[in-house]
């Protein structure tokens, strides 16, 4: 998965949003939400800041194109190698996540398309809710992948889990 941080330049938030709409056909979320167009997703992770991802894309190409398209309106930085991303799905996912995610994931509080940046087991993560399956994506820093995995598997063990590569 190719990933890049996108930070709007000073006073260029609107221009940045317009450029993204023009090139990717999505409305850039203003809050912690995700907007997808095909395989390209923009997830709000802070004021003026998004993580753009593209499933299956070449990292260098995706980032170069994004940078070119957003030149003068946003700073684009490759983060494709910075993150471990896991997709979690299943009826007990919320019970697993409750063992470390401090954010309220009840369906009334956190809906499909919502994004949260938070700390899980002292590790900074980005959580995206994809659908009501429920399915969540969690991105953790690459260097802490082992510790994150240790927490995740320990938390899921009670319910049982399968691991597969995508």
């Amino acid at each position: 998965m190719a990933a890049a941080s996108v930070i709007a330049r000073r006073g260029k938030a609107d221009a940045c949003a317009a450029a993204i709409t023009a090139h990717y056909g999505v409305t850039l979320p203003t809050g912690p939400r995700r907007a997808a167009s095909g395989d390209v997703v923009f997830a709000g992770v802070g004021p003026w800041r998004w993580i753009a991802t593209a499933e299956g894309a070449d990292a260098a190409e995706f980032v170069a194109q994004l940078r070119e398209r957003l030149v003068f309106v946003a700073a684009v930085t490759d983060q494709s190698d910075a993150r471990l991303v896991v997709r979690l799905r299943g009826p007990r996912v919320r019970d697993v996540l409750a063992k470390g995610v401090p954010v309220d994931l009840h369906p009334r509080a956190f809906k499909a398309g919502d994004v949260a940046t938070t700390l899980v087991a002292h590790i900074g993560v980005q959580i995206d809710m994809l659908d009501d399956g429920p399915t969540y994506l969690i991105a953790a820093p690459r260097s802490m992948a082992g510790s994150f995995w240790s927490w995740l598997t320990a938390s899921a063990a009670e319910f049982g889990y399968d691991v597969s590569r995508s």
Binding site: R9, D78, S80
Partner: protein, 970 residues
């Protein structure tokens, strides 16, 4: 089978599920639904432990988490858990428990001699006796006291079980599942609100399980079952059994401890024993009930004396008879009720001694269990009554504890002669007995109102609910605290062996404040936190000092409400998961090489790479240094903080956050940068490279990476928001390797597609290259003083890249080096690092004063010019060598003039870093010395009393190797 004291019928036990257990190696039988305490009662076991100080025989006193006496060691081997309350220990088949604080046996305990010596063991005994000589504390007093005091023994081995932490969120948190809590949950749940009902018991119902009462014309337990079924069917109501809410924190946060698998011998695989919860609730209803309190009279601690409410619990809920002939001593209507319940269960009632008639119990007789009680009536006539159990009720104390955790003070209520909640934590309401409403009807009504109100406050419309019919029976109480004509010790706090005499003595000695009383006598401390004792203690203190109870006040209730194990507090975070570990990209490769690792902050870094035959780490490090300086070495430096800074004002921004100038840095060049705090001291150092006119790449030290990022965000968002600057950490994105040594260029020439000649790529150059077919960045930077490069590749290629570097370097003798060799080489070059950037030294102190630009403002500039920081007497950075080349240096040693005494006034500075230098062939050091740069060649003492170090050293330049910098060019 069923136990000598098991009633033939009744109770909420499952007689179809018999369980066997052992107490002090003796086998007993119980049923599912029993607690350890109820099973002991059913088996006629009265003596269950010895008291803390006097080793007096003690029995079961309560039926809940407030138990002061019946603390046992539960389970055996590595799962042995001391100080477990038998009253909240759910019975399971094969349970093993043992009494505590006795030797050689519970019945014959040598420590009981303390009871005879009690004249000397009064309140304040430890303070008075062990005051002098003070130095004997560690040597003698403390070990002595520790052996004599204390209760159970910890397992002494690592706990094999799993513990967890978890988060929960709700609209309404209901604490306690008695009549008030159940009504509150029902009322709130029906509105559609998200409700959590938490109760420490394994069965919902609270006091309803223990009393013979009716709700809506049916037995209360049937009503409980019906409510429970309705709640279970509500998707947004979560019932948490075995879960005690232990603390209240700001803004609707609550801590709770769930004893998930304490009721089985071994938790099922992958399941935790306990789980500690953080619950976030918009509103809370406290329905924690009330604790019954005792009355102080002679030998009121004897086994067989128990609270009347507990006696009813054992009779009604557990079908276990506390005795065959029961007497009741009461100051309220619970006395007659207890007698009635006992008679109904077929237990003989010897007497009801009601203090409201002037009658009282003056003494209990029978050392290991009640045999006789001495009674006096209003006219002073005395009599002796034969009985084997005595139920005592001194009234009820609302469980106000959780209302006090944010500073609320309970207030005295004369009607029930007890403290009731005062100012409440925001968002909390109190219902039922916890609010001082001591009748069933008031509990149900109060709970319903609280539930409706709490849900409405969260925006949920009221749903249909009616209050079921129930008794509004009286609860008249006339305060009676202490039988003054008692004979024998009259206990106030059973757990801490505090007697009425101790309270009186404390008052007499001037400890008149309730907080002083607590600390002087230990009243209210330990596992029960005085739940049955505090108010009694206050009342006696009030009497002794001729004040009213409200004037005496109460002690401060703090979390946790019930004991919480350290395991539950740690949860997942123990052993290697104590905190997250960060692994650099070369970790797998370094592991294959047999590297020894060191924790550097959260990172696990290769410290050195030992080879077969190397006797110690120093041999290895010397080899790594020598090989790097002679040939070439490689080190993973991915742990450096890496930040990309973009924007039209990026250069200006860097000028403001660094002491030196970056706006003039040409594209394709890197520069060493020094960052100060606003107070003028050095915060961090690193480099910044200009990748494009409006794009910089900054590195920070490993240690300060997170802090620097926060500081930069502060500078941008708070100080200078108008600047067009965007910054983001790329620490995780890039793997970065330092390749250092005279042959480093030759190694890189095989890996990258660029002209590495001095002209095309000079020292402090940076450029994008292709390395092993991957888009990479190359920097010509040197920390070692050698010709050196840092090659950065996207992190996924880090492992392949270190292997490629090693392969390419094989013909040049490339050697991987770790943090030790890195440290040696930077000390040899006099480069500062974390030891010198210690928050107490300025740029001037470090010999970097000239880096502070005079042409611009920057963070720390003004404060760095404070006269005291410009004082030439300040210690400044120099190097040190032992005069005797064989001596070892130690960081932390302080410098003294030769011949000067080792006093603080003579202190001239301190050693910050030391290393053995294979180049100098002795230990070398960096340090700060008063007027150091002027004293090169002078000798001083490096004095280190902590490690018996006292070495004469010569002051040198901080640069030990290649002062001209010729090696930078290979």
């Amino acid at each position: 089978m069923s136990g000598t004291h098991r009633l033939q019928s009744g109770g909420l036990i499952d007689r179809g599920k018999p369980l066997s257990f052992s107490f002090d190696c003796e086998s007993h039988a119980g049923f599912a639904g029993d607690t350890l305490a109820s099973a002991l009662v059913a088996n006629g076991v009265k003596l269950v432990g010895r008291s803390f100080k006097y080793h007096r025989p003690r029995g079961i006193f309560t039926a809940g988490s407030e138990e002061p006496n019946a603390l046992v060691e539960l389970r055996g081997g590595v799962r042995r858990e001391p100080n477990t309350r038998a009253t909240v220990t759910e019975l399971y088949d094969g349970l093993i428990a043992a009494s505590q604080n006795r030797w050689p046996s519970l019945r014959h305990d040598i420590g009981a001699v303390n009871d005879r010596l009690s004249r000397f063991l009064v309140a304040g005994f430890y303070y008075k006796t062990f005051m002098w000589p003070a130095k004997f504390w560690e040597l003698l007093y403390e070990p002595l006291i520790r052996r004599a005091a204390g209760l159970g023994r910890a397992a002494g081995a690592e706990d094999p079980d799993i513990y967890e932490k978890a988060f929960a969120h709700c609209d309404v948190l209901v604490i306690g599942a008695g009549p008030a809590g159940l009504m509150a949950t029902l009322a709130a749940g029906r509105t559609g609100a998200r409700v959590i009902l938490a109760d420490e018991d394994f069965r919902l119902g609270g006091r309803l399980l223990a009393e013979r009462c009716e709700i809506g014309g049916r037995p209360a337990v049937d009503w409980v079952a019906e409510i429970e079924a309705e709640l279970a069917a509500m998707p947004d109501v979560r019932i948490m059994r075995r879960t005690a809410v232990t603390g209240v924190y700001d803004h609707g946060q609550y801590s709770a401890i769930e004893r998930v698998n304490d009721h089985v011998a071994t938790p099922p695989e992958h399941e935790p024993r306990q789980r500690s919860w953080k619950i976030v609730a918009k509103r809370a209803v406290l329905a924690a009930g009330a604790h019954e309190r005792a009355i102080a009279f002679g030998n009121n601690d004897r086994p067989g004396v128990m609270l009347a409410g507990a006696a009813r619990t054992y009779v009604n809920r557990f079908a276990a008879a506390p005795g065959r002939r029961l007497a009741v001593f009461t100051n309220n209507d619970d006395g007659p009720r207890t007698a009635a319940d006992a008679r109904e269960a077929g237990i003989e009632v010897a007497a009801v001694i009601d203090s409201r008639t002037g009658a009282r119990v003056t003494r209990v007789r029978g050392r290991h269990g009640v045999r006789l009680i001495d009674v006096a009536d209003a006219d002073g006539r005395t009599s002796t009554i034969e009985c084997d159990a005595l139920a005592v009720s001194g009234g009820w104390n609302p469980a106000v504890h959780l209302t006090c955790h944010l500073g609320g003070k309970p207030v005295w209520n004369d009607e029930i002669a007890a403290f009731v909640p005062g100012a409440l934590p925001p968002g909390m309401t109190v219902a039922g007995a916890a609010a001082g409403a001591l009748t069933l009807a008031r509990c149900l009504g109060g709970g319903m109102t609280a539930g409706v109100t709490a849900a409405a406050a969260c925006g949920f419309a009221i749903a249909a609910i009616t209050q079921p019919r129930a008794d509004d029976e009286g609860a008249a109480v006339t305060a009676m605290w202490h039988v003054k004509d008692s004979r024998g010790k009259a206990f106030v706090d059973l757990q801490n062996d505090v007697t009425t005499k101790d309270v009186a003595l404390a008052t007499q000695e001037g400890f008149g404040s309730v907080e002083h009383l607590k600390r002087y006598t230990t009243l209210g401390m330990a596992t029960d936190q005085g739940k049955t004792a505090n108010v009694l203690g206050l009342a006696i203190l009030a009497q002794a000092s001729a004040r009213a109870i409200p004037q005496v006040g109460t002690t401060t209730y703090r979390p946790p409400y019930v004991p919480v194990s350290f395991g539950a507090m740690a949860g997942h975070h123990r052993g290697r998961d104590f905190r997250p570990t960060r692994l650099p990209p070369s970790h797998a490769w370094a592991t294959e090489q047999g590297a020894v690792f060191v924790e550097a902050g959260a990172w696990l870094r290769a410290q050195y790479y030992p080879r077969a035959g190397e006797a110690d780490w120093l041999k290895t490090v010397n080899r790594e240094v020598a090989a790097t300086r002679a040939h070439v070495g490689v080190c993973d430096v991915s742990t450096l903080g890496k930040i990309e800074i973009e924007g039209a004002n990026a250069g200006v921004f860097l000028d403001r956050v660094y002491a030196n100038t970056f706006s003039t840095l040409p594209v394709g060049k890197a520069r060493y940068g020094l960052m100060l705090r606003e107070d003028g001291f050095v915060m961090d150092d690193g480099t910044a490279s200009r990748l494009a006119p409006e794009r910089f790449f900054m590195t920070t030290t490993t240690a300060q990476a997170v802090r620097v990022m926060q500081h930069l965000e502060f500078c941008h968002q708070v100080l200078w928001p108008a600047l067009d600057v965007q910054m983001v950490s790329v620490s995780e994105q890039w793997a970065q390797f330092s390749i250092a040594g005279p042959r480093s260029r030759d190694v890189l020439a095989k890996l990258v597609d660029a002209d590495l000649g001095d002209a095309a790529f000079p020292h402090l150059g940076c450029r994008e290259v292709t390395a092993c077919g991957v888009a990479a960045r190359l920097f010509r930077l040197s920390f070692s003083g050698e010709l050196a490069y840092e090659l950065a590749v996207p992190a996924r290629h880090g492992d392949a890249t270190i292997r490629a570097i090693m392969a390419a370097g094989a013909e040049f003798g490339i050697t991987p080096y770790g943090t030790e060799a890195l440290g040696v080489m930077r000390i040899e070059k006099g480069h500062v690092a974390g030891n010198e950037i210690n928050g107490q030294l300025t740029a001037r102190d470090l010999g970097l004063g000239r880096m502070m630009s005079t042409k611009k403002d920057f963070v720390g500039r003004v404060m760095a010019q404070r006269p005291a920081l410009l004082d030439p007497e300040r210690p400044a950075l120099v190097g040190f060598k032992p005069v005797d080349g064989a001596r070892r240096l130690r960081a932390g040693a302080h410098f003294l003039k030769i011949g000067a005494g080792a006093t603080a006034e003579n202190d001239e500075g301190y050693m910050t870093s030391v290393a053995y230098s294979p180049m100098v062939k002795s230990w070398i050091g960096l340090g700060v010395l008063r007027r150091g740069p002027e004293r090169i060649g002078e000798r001083v003492r490096a004095y280190d009393p902590v490690r018996n170090g006292d070495v004469e050293v010569e002051v040198t330049s901080p640069i030990f190797v290649d002062p001209e910098g010729a090696r930078l060019h290979g």
